[in-house]
């Protein structure tokens, strides 16, 4: 069990000593029991920090935001930023470090182990709460305990946990400066890629029918891109409005700029967008599941990403976010890579 007081004390101490510029963590949100991202820069704010099963955000996104703000303002980074990171979040940070998005000294990782459980899936939880409003959530061994107006409700974690957490192979943040909670790696409740395997068991025709429905629904709000710490490009290849323009850019240039896909939310364009995104995340996605959670129309984006993760693992022995000095998936190769598909 993680003692929240330890985390708060550590954060307070670091802020008081000025060792970090800020602490990125979770605080109780304004939406019922759900936690929300918190940016603390004064020691007295440290008591706002929480750690419970609703801390689902991948906060490493805000490290990316921070770098962008600094670059925009032309400032040097100075002291590091501390961040509360779960296993998956810590792996995202490793990928960012691998890609030299920032240096190891620019970030202070306060690791929190999910200890063999994980975070809740709001949609699954809603089914169990039957409309009751919960005001608090807490870890308790293999259960989650929710406080509702009708009293305490104890639910087995596996019934309300996010799919990705059920399948999580590394709930412990291996890369850290400080870490709380036990390392209970290997206690996954479902086989890795279980959700993917269930989907893949269908024939190609059924898969297409499913995906066609999903792709039709996509409204191209780009929430998945916005919430993803790996989608940090200033210019996004699939979105022509992100291409830079200056006073020298002529109307002709703007009109004739390459448009890989149209901006309309048509099925064909949605497919191309989501597939491109999956390719760009291959070997980088650490399965934090934020794209899935953020999607307003329930497109199972995670399936595309886990498909790539599974192929990378099975065929190339590649684990995303395994080590800072490791190779990147598509910029490296092995002699024994599969080649039988090539004529």
């Amino acid at each position: 069990m993680i003692n929240l007081k330890d985390v708060r004390d550590a954060a307070r101490d670091m802020l008081a000593k000025g060792e970090v510029r800020a602490v990125i963590g979770y605080r109780r949100g304004s939406r019922g029991m759900f936690a929300e991202p918190a940016f603390l820069d004064r020691p007295e704010e440290a008591d706002e920090l929480v750690w419970d099963p609703t801390c689902f955000h991948n906060l490493s996104l805000y490290l990316v935001h921070d770098r962008k703000h600094l670059a925009h303002a032309g400032k040097k980074s100075g002291a590091p930023v501390a961040i509360v990171a779960k296993g998956c979040d810590a792996r995202s940070i490793v990928v960012l470090l691998q890609e030299h998005y920032f240096g190891r000294d620019d970030v202070y990782i306060i690791g929190v182990s999910c200890e063999g459980t994980g975070v809740v899936d709001e949609r699954k939880l809603a089914r169990h709460l039957n409309g009751a409003q919960a005001s608090n959530a807490a870890f308790d061994g293999d259960d989650f305990v929710f406080t509702t107006a009708q009293g305490e409700k104890r639910l087995p974690a596996r019934e309300v946990m996010a799919d990705r957490c059920l399948e999580c192979r590394n709930p412990f943040p291996k890369e850290h400066n400080l870490v709380y909670g036990e390392d209970k790696t290997g206690r996954q409740l479902e086989a890795p890629f279980a959700a993917l395997d269930r989907f893949e068991a269908q024939g190609a025709g059924e898969r297409w029918e499913n995906w066609a429905r999903h792709f039709d629904r996509c409204i191209r709000c780009f929430a998945c891109r916005s919430v993803c710490p790996m989608c940090y490009c200033d210019e996004c290849v699939v979105d022509s409005i992100t291409f830079p323009i200056s006073t020298e850019t002529t109307a002709d240039e703007k009109a004739n700029r390459i448009r890989w896909i149209e901006r309309s939310a048509a099925r064909s364009e949605n497919i191309t967008y989501l597939m491109t995104r999956a390719m760009h995340l291959a070997g980088r996605c650490t399965d934090c599941g934020e794209c899935d959670r953020a999607c307003p129309v329930n497109v199972p984006i995670r399936l595309l990403n886990t498909k790539m993760e599974k192929e990378a693992r099975d065929q190339f022995g590649f684990e995303p976010g395994a080590s800072i000095g490791g190779p990147s998936l598509v910029a490296s190769f092995l002699d024994k890579d599969p080649g039988e598909f090539i004529r």
């Binding site: 597939m275 390719m279 190769f333």
Partner: protein, 144 residues
């Protein structure tokens, strides 16, 4: 009953300029007869073929996409085709995953000396694509 004309698939072929492109030339100057369905696009190396090219080709109406480059070990840039092998494997699996017919994407190694092989690769591809008919899964709806 009159015999129906077989569907003529449109193939976009990304050919490495150091080998497969020359291989297709050789097929031509050797007067090898093979279907004219493939539109060649010469690229500097298969390693330069972004998965986006393939998606984009399908998006713009290709019925099949062929990527062809140098045999392993023969890359002009030493390792471009090794990198291509990985990327193309991933995009192939992803296309298959969403339910695009397996035969719509193909990769081959064709050297500059293998004109006959190039003709064979295209012939086989056309034969496999014909029964599948037009590709409409990723194709953009035409604007009026």
């Amino acid at each position: 009953m009159s015999e129906q004309q077989p569907y003529e698939p449109k193939i976009v072929a990304f050919l490495c300029k150091w080998c497969s492109s020359a291989g297709s030339d050789l097929a031509g100057v050797s007067r090898i007869q093979y279907p004219a369905n493939a539109t060649p696009i010469t690229v500097p190396c298969t390693g330069a073929v972004s998965p986006m090219y393939i998606l984009s080709a399908f998006n713009k109406g290709a019925d099949g996409v062929l990527v062809s480059g140098c045999h392993i070990g023969d890359c002009h840039y030493l390792e471009g085709n090794y990198l291509a092998r990985r990327k193309m494997y991933l995009i192939m699996k992803l296309l298959d995953f969403i339910g695009v017919e397996h035969d719509r994407f193909r990769m081959s190694w064709v050297s500059a000396a293998e004109g006959a092989k190039f003709a064979q690769v295209v012939t086989d591809f056309v034969n496999d694509l014909q029964p599948l008919g037009p590709q409409d899964k990723l194709k953009r709806a035409e604007s009026k």
